[in-house]
Symmetry: C2
């Protein structure tokens, strides 16, 4: 019997374990054209918090008391489709469970690339890396010699932003919480780091970026966004990717420096990975090259076992991960 | 003896009359190439509040205990330059005073256009109209059939935005304070109005724009900006022109809906009139045509007398003006 995590109720503020239940599920029969896949890697991502609310957004909300979904890498166990064979590794959206049976069209067969592990397609070659790449280079129009500030720089997206920015010849300031994570951000090539647990972001960013910033890649919102507004140079561009501080909060965001948008002609641009599907070719070419050359390295925080998936997800909001948070089955 | 308003101290919060003093000034000698001009019309504009702080911005701060400056239309009284003659009307930046002697290059001779009064160059053919035109069409990339929300729509810039948007075939919702101003906004062609004094902006905007908004022209900030974020449709564009609510406040802006920037891919773009100097030709062509055809009408609130200039300025923050606030000498 397969098992899948179900959302049992809509979280109020920070989700708790009792919002989730692991339940047996019936798999579809393996008819002609269908494939049975065992998940090996599950992705948990901050955007999933939004799907737990009953609010129309860019992805539909999770239904209550039904199997949840999300990015996953699995292995084909049985196939009744000529395009997929037993042992193939596939990328698909039926995460939060151990097994699934679906039409072959729901699965993307992963290419075998020397030195690239299949779970990279949940990270730097997938949603995470693509979000970093398109956000930095498209939404924020970042270019060589820009001074770039990245929040949550030890996280999955942030650590990719740091490395892409360095590969493109930018100056990078990354924020992270605690000495270990700051050290990790430095090891990725960041020129300066801001430890948001050590003191106010604004003071530290002012010291780290005495000339101000041209680009801000926002994963956090709140005080980080306000500090970036305070220190933005003329024609600064902000890619607004996430506001993890606000995902669980009922409180409004307080901005003291939002008026600088006018004098500094700041541009804020919200974006989502899928806005740039027409540029996936460039992404695979650039990111593939950087991974091959070692200019972009992945780092995963791995939680073992399907039953710990909610714990992995909750860890995203408490800083439990360095780099990409994954569940291994 | 000429007189000029001096800023005597930096206002804390809302400026008060005691921050200003009208003092005698020495005029420069009328040497070769110099021109003596008597001001007929002075402009007071919200952006001047920023110049009263000792903060580097897009215009330098006013010096303390020195003559203030600002847009003005004057008449040439004496000229030692061949380019200007007695009786010419000129546009220049030595407002907040009755008379000035300066090099001829500081003055722009106004063309005599039938039906256009010289003070229009302080309004719809000047800073005000240009701010509306470039903000709407460039910063917000507004286009035919967009649903446009404009705050402070009875003000100088806002009333121009309403009329330009209608001339370009957009649907327009304007906010203003009180029934009289709302009626004025309707008379400009707005499809719907929001009276921000009659109740929360968000509820009224939701009723006025059941399909949401594509463009927001922000003169106000605060609750108006938050309501626009709440109701923005996908790929909405906000031109951030002013945040008059915050100019005198020490309090941070509170935004409950800023996270919608991501899901809706909203763009916020701060801008200033002078960013688009290379497109002044288009502006004069379009705006001149609309004024000639009656599609864009000016409305002035006129305060009489140099000694009342600070009162006119302070009135900008208490809603004393409908349309452009001017001082006539």
């Amino acid at each position: 019997m397969a098992k899948a995590w179900h959302l049992m109720r809509r979280p109020q503020g920070m989700p708790v374990m009792e919002d989730f239940a692991l339940k047996d599920i019936e798999l579809a029969p393996l008819e002609e054209g269908m494939v049975r896949v065992a998940n090996r890697w599950l992705s948990v991502d901050p955007y999933m918090r939004g799907r737990m609310n009953d609010v129309k957004s860019y992805v539909p909300p999770f239904a209550l008391d039904a199997p949840m979904s999300g990015g996953a890498v699995g292995e084909v166990l049985e196939s009744r489709d000529p395009g997929l064979s037993v042992g193939d590794m596939v990328l698909h959206m039926s995460g939060w469970r151990d097994e699934t049976v679906e039409p072959a069209a729901n699965f993307n067969k992963l290419p075998a690339i020397p030195g690239v592990e299949p779970q990279a397609f949940l990270g730097n070659l997938g949603l995470t890396g693509g979000t970093a790449y398109f956000g930095l280079l498209e939404a924020a129009s970042a270019k060589e010699r820009d001074i770039v500030f990245v929040s949550a720089a030890a996280g999955a997206v942030g650590s990719a932003v740091v490395q892409i920015a360095k590969a493109k010849g930018m100056t990078v300031i990354g924020s992270a919480g605690g000495a270990d994570k700051c050290e990790f951000v430095r090891s990725l090539g960041a020129d300066e780091v801001v430890d948001y647990k050590a003191g106010p972001v604004l003071n530290q960013l002012a010291a780290a970026a005495p000339k101000g910033i041209d680009v801000y890649f926002d994963n956090v919102g709140g005080d980080h966004l306000d500090a970036a507004l305070a220190l933005a140079r003329q024609n600064a561009r902000f890619a607004i990717c996430g506001m993890i501080e606000g995902y669980n909060a009922g409180e409004p965001t307080q901005l003291r420096y939002i008026m600088r948008i006018i004098a500094m002609r700041i541009r804020l641009q919200g974006f989502i990975y899928t806005d740039y599907m027409d540029k996936m070719g460039e992404f695979y070419r650039d990111m593939g090259g950087w991974i091959a050359s070692g200019q972009v390295k992945g780092r995963d925080t791995v939680i073992e076992g399907l039953e710990r998936t909610p714990e992995a997800f909750l860890g995203l909001f408490t800083g439990a991960n360095t780099g990409k948070m994954l569940v291994r089955l």
